[in-house]
């Protein structure tokens, strides 16, 4: 926490180069920063660190992000977008199962890319993620009192190349320079092994809202080395909710006038299901009576044992992944020193019990599972900012990369769980005389046939000098960088001519699209800035009112000063109630600061500062 002398939260330190860590989650997002050796999450004016990854496109034209948007999801189910992380970097046809249970519309855009349809507008998943990231950025800037431009953004370890690239694009659209894409379980391991002095082998089990990851790490002399990772990008707490939602829908009367697929019904049922799940984590049974108006009333009682039986197959799937990760790491269960739990869904008792039974170890839960990833990301951010050279992360690529050969088979070039960065150079030639171009299809996945892997994109090598067939020797280098993202370069060996590469990505945005969207966002930047400033000033004014009120109760003041403070306070409250603009609010804040600050040595100055500090730490 920055210390402040007066009630006005002005930063006392001069701004320094600052890189934040951002956990861009399926359900919630948040930022953290590390100063000195202390990592801390950044909270909004209400003291909340978690920002729901929810965007509401209000019918009145406003775009609302975060807690307020989440509250609106029952009012505007078809205009409130959540869990968009499940769509990022994927094809619309792959999202069919998701889209059916989502109350908002997902349609197929060009190149079969998913688009979220709200009214007559369409949004890419990247653009929605960017709105969430902007909110995280704004919250971080308010909390830090300085601009935030660089960040480390986390992704599930199991994310493939397209999903990583899409996340980087979302960061760029949000005006953030993403210094590193970091795997979530690796980040969590950092949060736990902060000093890097605890050598050992660690299993990180990360069950979030929409994704599951497991990583095995070896920590030695401050080097965090990932030995293997496994997971499922479509397995998480949302799936637990969906199973409970089915139970609720089944409890609705069949004769109901409104079909169960109605977005309002779906959204209300999902919200109720989530509530049930949370209650069943602490209670052995829970009752629900959900009045859905014309759709009828769902009344049910569910025991924790029933819930556990329902989700048991999903939990087993996570344990299968754990098994695979151990095997790939060449680590036996009894060689594990620590087991670490991350992700909100690890609060479900069955998950903890099954993992404890499987590993024979009591899992660590000291760090809040919702905050661990962001805290770890802030540590890596600090390393990248050049402030800490004692730590080093060595991560792996989760899925093998290969090229399609004749007959539709995939020749693996880079194997899964290879430490990144890694590269491989392959030689290719031409099939006919004077051929000047060669097409390469790059796939990611473990299966043998191209059609069973994910086609990441087509690389077209151009400008090969005309030669008889088979004579050109084109060396193509596949480099997987430290973000786990592929870069391809090519060169004809005999002539040394650099072959041009044209990349046609199968998923996500092309480079041109990213550029265009960024230009558009710069046009909106001024508008966004004003809107954000208004929010910041308002938050500050509200905090000052609360702080001063508290201080007035504590302090005994001479009557004339009491009068002056009360007068300024009343004026500011009036401005707030009237929804005054940023400029008037700022003036009101300044007035209040003046009357409290002129009595510098007086008790009220100290009391206000203290109350404000408490307010911010809350």
């Amino acid at each position: 926490m920055t210390t402040q002398r007066g009630p006005a939260p002005a930063p006392t330190q001069k701004p320094q180069r600052l890189v934040v860590g951002i956990d861009l989650g399926t359900t919630n997002s948040l930022a953290a920063v590390r100063a000195g050796k202390q990592a801390r999450v950044l909270r909004d004016a209400q003291g909340e660190p978690l920002i729901p990854s929810v965007v509401c496109f209000h019918p009145d034209g406003r775009t609302i992000v975060g807690r307020e948007a989440k509250a609106l999801r029952l009012s505007f189910p078809d205009r409130t977008v959540f869990s968009v992380k499940r769509l990022v970097g994927r094809a619309a046809s792959e999202c069919g199962a998701e889209a059916r249970v989502l109350p908002y519309r997902v349609v197929a855009g060009e190149r079969d890319l998913p688009r979220v349809q709200v009214g007559d507008r369409q949004f890419t998943p990247e653009a929605i993620s960017a709105l969430v990231l902007q909110q995280v950025k704004a919250t971080a800037e308010s909390a830090l009192g300085q601009p935030v431009e660089q960040a480390v953004v986390t992704v599930p370890a199991w994310f493939d190349d397209a999903q990583r690239q899409a996340t980087k694009d979302a960061a760029a659209l949000a005006g953030l320079d993403c210094l590193r894409i970091l795997n979530e379980p690796t980040a969590a391991a950092l949060a736990y092994g902060i000093d890097g002095n605890k050598d050992g082998t660690v299993l990180v089990y990360d069950l979030g809202g929409g994704t599951f990851d497991v990583s095995i790490l070896r920590i030695e002399d401050g080097v965090f080395r990932v030995l293997s990772t496994a997971g499922d990008t479509h397995l998480g707490g949302d799936d637990f909710d969906a199973l409970l939602a089915e139970r609720i829908l089944a409890a609705l009367p069949r004769t109901a006038a409104v079909p169960a697929a109605d977005p309002y019904v779906l959204q209300a049922v999902r919200a109720a299901a989530e509530g049930l799940k949370i209650r069943l984590s602490s209670e052995t049974s829970a009752e629900l009576e959900l009045d859905l108006g014309a759709a009828g009333t769902a009344k049910l009682r569910i025991a924790r044992s029933e819930f556990e039986a329902t989700i048991a197959p999903l939990v087993q799937r996570t344990l299968d992944c754990v098994q695979r990760a151990l095997k790939d790491a060449n680590v036996r269960i009894d060689q594990l020193d620590e087991v670490v739990l991350v992700g909100g869904s690890t609060r479900v008792p069955l998950v903890r019990a099954r993992l404890a039974a499987f590993t024979g170890k009591q899992p660590h839960t000291e760090v809040d599972p919702d905050l661990a990833v962001a805290l770890g990301a802030s540590i890596q951010a600090d390393v990248l900012a050049g402030n800490d050279r004692s730590l080093l992360l060595l991560d792996v690529i989760p899925l093998s990369l290969g090229i399609e050969t004749l007959g539709g088979a995939v020749q693996k070039l880079i194997l899964r769980n290879s430490t990144i960065p890694t590269h491989r150079t392959e030689e290719f030639s031409t099939g006919v005389d004077d051929q000047t171009a060669v097409d390469l299809a790059i796939h990611q996945g473990e299966r043998e046939l191209a059609r069973d892997c994910r086609l990441l994109g087509r690389f077209k090598l151009r400008g090969i000098p005309p030669m008889p067939a088979g004579l050109p020797r084109i060396a193509v280098t596949f480099l997987v960088d430290a973000d786990g993202v592929l870069r391809v370069t090519a060169r004809e060996q005999r002539t040394g001519v650099e072959a041009g590469i044209q990349v046609v990505p199968s998923y996500g945005l092309s480079r041109d699209e990213v550029k265009r969207m960024m230009l558009e966002s710069i046009e909106h930047a001024q508008q966004d800035y004003l809107a954000r400033e208004a929010i910041d000033v308002r938050n500050k004014a509200e905090a000052m009112v609360r702080g001063t009120q508290k201080a007035l109760q504590l302090a005994e003041l001479p009557p004339d000063q009491t009068y002056a403070v009360h007068k300024a306070l009343a004026a500011l409250r009036k401005l707030l109630a009237a929804g005054a603009g940023a400029a008037s609010l700022k003036a009101g804040c300044d007035d209040l600061t003046r009357v409290t600050a002129t009595i510098a040595d007086d008790v009220i100055g100290a009391a206000v500062a203290k109350a404000l500090r408490e307010e911010q730490q809350r």
Partner: protein
Amino acid sequence: MIHVPAPDPFTVFGLPRSLDLDERALESRYLRLSRDCHPDLHRAADTGDCIAVLQRAAEINDAWRVLRDPWQRARALLELLSPGALDRHKRLDPVFLAEALDLAEEVARADAAAAPALRARLQAALAADFAALRDAMQRGDCDAAARVCHASHYHQKALADLDAKS
């Protein structure tokens, strides 16, 4: 600008070209090299990852993957001592090939009860392969060493298949 082939893993690690490397020393060398060269610790103030730094880090990671595995290390060494030897001896003795196919069948049939004995047998076969390889290398007979490398591949594959079943 002709493509420069990546340096061999022994050169990357600054180690003598030898089949026998101390694994513990190899690992600590890997960690030290990573600290010296990883892009996370070597960023220019305001630019992204420099391609040369990425390539150097990739070389270290790739060399480590080869050197830590005795068989991959052996292949890399063979390629250095006698370029093309591995390619020249790809054709296997038909008798051995028949044995390898029988072995694959046995692995496919093996149930949980038979697995431990079969695993022990395969591990012993691989140990014998490696002894033969070391022997051939010491004699300077790269051709024989290349043949052993190819032959051992079937034992390795059989063992991997057996492990995949459990």
